[in-house]
Symmetry: C3
């Protein structure tokens, strides 16, 4: 059995979902950078208000929290609480030899739920909308993990 | 050699420990939700005090930090600093072909140390108790990682 | 093909880089502990100012943020935003069967960029220096991930 190959459809599906989620996570760092540059603030370290080519006119207010920047940081924090666990859970789920249909449903379902969660959070939709998207992803993650645990226990 | 199979006892041991830790991590998110619903507060985003079915009587105090909610967030933060690295380190440790006894001792020892850490943190035991449980898990993680590094270097 | 073996040079390179990064991440937790012990403060939980053998003379100021401790926490936060994703992205990149030269360049390049980032952050170099090191690592991570995504899509 050569499950772990990009030629295997289930593993390839996992890799596509995993790499998309990694790119999503890394994008949050860049989006934080972008927003800090736009508002010229939201910095966190004392040395960030030294005069440099990237910050020619520093002032102490740049160290105060900026809501636009903090919003991205909250989105990123939510990613950190979820994505690393999806990345490992999804990988281990491959060993339960799911059907391609099930793998696609769960892996891509998770990806879509996280993109919708981002859209809702970024545009400041109500808590209930954001929570709904988050819940879909979390339930998929829990379901995959429980299925894998049972398989490892021999059920 | 087919190390990466749920039929392999060492790999299955890893998968059991890993999925338990993933479920533990995800539970922290749900526990945060549960506490936020109980105290009707501890929210973080300005839009969370809009009136919605889940928050019919919003008020600005809901955005203030709530110690019960913050405690879970600190526990979760501690998870994020540890669990993703255990998940990868444990997986790579499988490639060093440890005995089943050693694998069980380290993998399940880590799981138990994290559950005790959670119990101590959640019930606000002294720092020393909490730190002791944390240290056991951290030392297991470091030992596995060093062993794997040496094996990859050919020792 | 037995790509996933410590005898395989590309996989062994990944494992060396991954274990070094895991040790780096875990070190940040210990460095936080060390700094908290040195300044006898920077604690976060109310129970941390109970009298214990490790904290024989507690006082409420120990719960106030301490810049030396906060600096390590910011460094660690930066690790959490990057390293877990590198660990998975690097592993999946192995399946694209890169040349050993390319794998070494990317994996060890990432490791070096993170160590330089740590050095710049720890010694409070200017934001621009720190950002440069961070950018190198982030670009390597993005490049590996995009290459893997394309391979999984069949390109």
């Amino acid at each position: 059995m050569d499950k772990l190959s990009l030629q295997d459809p289930v593993f390839a599906t996992y890799v596509i979902a995993a790499t998309l989620m990694i790119l999503k996570a890394v994008s949050m760092s860049w989006l934080t950078v972008l927003h800090m540059m736009q508002v010229k603030g939201g910095f966190r370290s004392p040395e960030d208000i030294k005069k440099t080519p990237l910050n020619p006119k520093p002032n102490p207010q740049q160290l105060e929290p900026n809501e636009r920047v903090e919003r991205i940081r909250r989105i990123q924090m939510n990613d950190l609480e979820s994505l690393p666990f999806f990345l490992v859970a999804g990988f281990l789920f491959v060993f339960t030899e799911p059907s391609l249909l099930l793998a696609r449903g769960l892996f891509y379902g998770y990806v879509v739920s996280r993109l919708l969660h981002f859209a809702a959070y970024f545009t400041a939709r109500t808590h209930d909308t954001r929570a709904t998207h988050w819940t879909v992803g979390s339930v998929i993650l829990i379901a995959m993990t429980c299925r894998t645990l049972l398989a490892a226990l021999g059920y």
